[in-house]
């Protein structure tokens, strides 16, 4: 203890020359530390933004490619295939029977996807196991009937009717939810109204449109 005290006392009373030599030594260490910090920060930042999403989300392909743009031009608007039933429930992705309304007899196209569709599903009378990008967690209640009357499908689903191919379905390995819920941006930043489908996004719009974000049970079950 006395040694430390001596040192401290010496430090304050010793000649200026010794003091400065000690300071330069410290600066070297500090410089290395700053470089190490920056390098470590860059490594962590890059792995966090580039590597982490790849680790977090598994990628799945749809059973076969689906051309939304073609179907919109041939069949009509979204509600030609995705409609609200008489009792107010929503059909979601149509069942095979609805596809067969048009695809009944001969294949309607010459693409590889049409071949897969006919051979694997139509001939075997099997439902197509589509992966639903917009599937919400089990605790969420969403009424399409309440929204479709005054809201465009695009507001939540984006311009999906203009796409020619099905994108890769990404599933959060921890929660099992589709990536569309959190959004493509790993920081959760959104530029369009359809970039995310989280509770905050619902509440934001509800507050704007109805003046109240709603009571819990309005959207939960």
């Amino acid at each position: 203890m006395s040694e430390i005290e001596n040192k401290a006392e010496n430090g304050s009373t010793e000649s200026a020359g010794e003091c400065t030599s000690g300071d330069t030594k410290d600066d070297k260490g500090l410089g290395l530390g700053v470089i190490f910090f920056i390098v470590a920060f860059v490594v962590c930042f890059l792995s966090g933004t580039l590597l982490f999403p790849k680790l977090l989300y598994s990628k799945k392909e749809q059973p076969f490619n689906f051309d939304h743009e073609l179907h919109v031009s041939e069949a009509g608007d979204c509600d030609a295939c995705h409609s609200v039933r008489e009792d107010g429930s929503f059909t979601g992705i149509p069942k095979l029977a609805v596809c067969l309304d048009c695809h009944a007899e001969d294949p309607l196209g010459e693409t590889e996807d049409e071949v897969v569709f006919v051979e694997e599903y139509v001939n075997k009378e099997k439902e197509v196991p589509w992966l639903v990008y917009a599937r919400q967690p089990d605790c969420v209640f969403f009424s399409h009937a309440a929204h479709t009357t005054n809201t465009d499908c695009k507001v939540c689903h984006g311009p999906i009717g203009e796409s020619n191919s099905s994108r890769v379905y990404e599933e959060n390995r921890l929660t099992g939810y589709s990536r569309d819920i959190w959004g493509k941006n790993i920081f959760g930043i959104k530029k369009h109204s359809w970039d995310r489908m989280k509770m905050d996004d619902c509440a934001e719009c509800h507050k704007k449109e109805t003046g109240h974000q709603g009571y819990c049970f309005q959207c939960h079950k």
């Binding site: 967690p137 605790c139 209640f141 009424s143 009937a145 049970f217 939960h220």
Partner: protein, 287 residues
């Protein structure tokens, strides 16, 4: 907000205890409707979860004067003191996992939000809330028979009766599809227990709507009770009572009985107290 206030519902129930036979259909229908998990030994009431539970009441007299009444008890959906939405459970929840829907008068329970502190269970005067000590375990293959409209609960959280809110959501969906979202007919929204009761002892509907049967039976007094300003919506029907009414919890589940001893069971009274207040009902307050 103002617009919402005008069309506010107040869903409630009146249970005729003279009609109830204690068969337990309401309990069974409730469990299957709401994916309520069951245990190996359902007779162990410390472990079992019963959103709707039938209690047995007796007048305590020996034969031949013994009388027995069965009292079904769902969540009472308290409006809290003055009916302002400060239900006992809602006001204590630290996680806002339960809130009061001012548009329906229904007390919610959000399972994903609840972290299982069980304050609400302590606050609830009616033992209507249950804690999941274990994950639900369904017999093999039974998961396929679960209702997709009600999310199943995991261990470590509290659950309770929701007045079959998913049925309200379905009824509202239909109203939207028919183009008049505010018009939900009485028969379109009925709880599972109401529809299952073979004796027709349970009547469910909107207490704010004079056309609904529940309103016609209960005749809720819109003015606060002159002897206790916290009590609102007291029944003007002398045969109708609520459980622990004087607490001011303002429950939305009313009970109906012709028999005085049954009505007396709805609360705890000091000696001689019952005789003084038994004839006081909402009909005496008009201002």
């Amino acid at each position: 907000m103002k617009q919402e206030h005008n069309k506010a519902h107040k869903f409630g129930m009146v249970i005729d205890l003279d009609k109830c036979t204690g068969c337990g259909s309401c309990m069974v229908s409730c469990m299957s409707e709401n994916n309520v998990p069951f245990k190996d030994d359902e007779s162990d009431k410390k472990k079992s979860i019963t959103w709707m539970r039938v209690y047995k009441l007796t007048n305590g007299k020996s034969f031949p004067d013994t009388e027995i009444v069965y009292m079904p008890r769902p969540c009472q959906h308290c409006g809290g003191k003055g009916d302002h939405g400060h239900s006992p459970c809602v006001s204590v929840c630290p996680a806002t996992a339960t809130d009061y829907g001012y548009d329906t008068g229904i007390v919610s329970q959000i399972y994903t939000r609840c972290f299982g502190c069980r304050y609400c269970m302590g606050a609830c005067p009616y033992h209507a809330r249950y804690f999941n000590w274990w994950d639900p375990k369904w017999p093999e293959g039974m998961e396929k028979y679960l209702s997709p409209d009600v999310s199943p609960r995991m261990r470590g959280i509290v659950e309770k009766c929701s007045f079959c809110y998913h049925r309200y959501q379905a009824a509202r969906d239909q109203a939207y599809a028919e183009g008049d979202k505010d018009n939900i007919p009485e028969e379109n929204y009925q709880t599972a227990c109401t529809t299952a009761c073979p004796a027709g002892a349970i009547v469910f509907g909107d207490l704010n709507n004079p056309e609904h049967k529940v309103h016609q039976i209960v005749k809720p007094d819109p003015h606060p009770d002159p002897r206790n300003k916290h009590v609102v919506g007291k029944s003007r029907n002398p045969k109708v009572f609520r459980l622990l009414e004087r607490l001011g919890t303002n429950t939305k589940v009313y009970y109906l009985s012709d028999r005085e001893w049954v009505r007396k069971q709805g609360d705890n009274y000091l000696e001689g107290e019952w005789d003084k207040i038994k004839n006081h009902h909402g009909d005496t307050s008009h201002g």
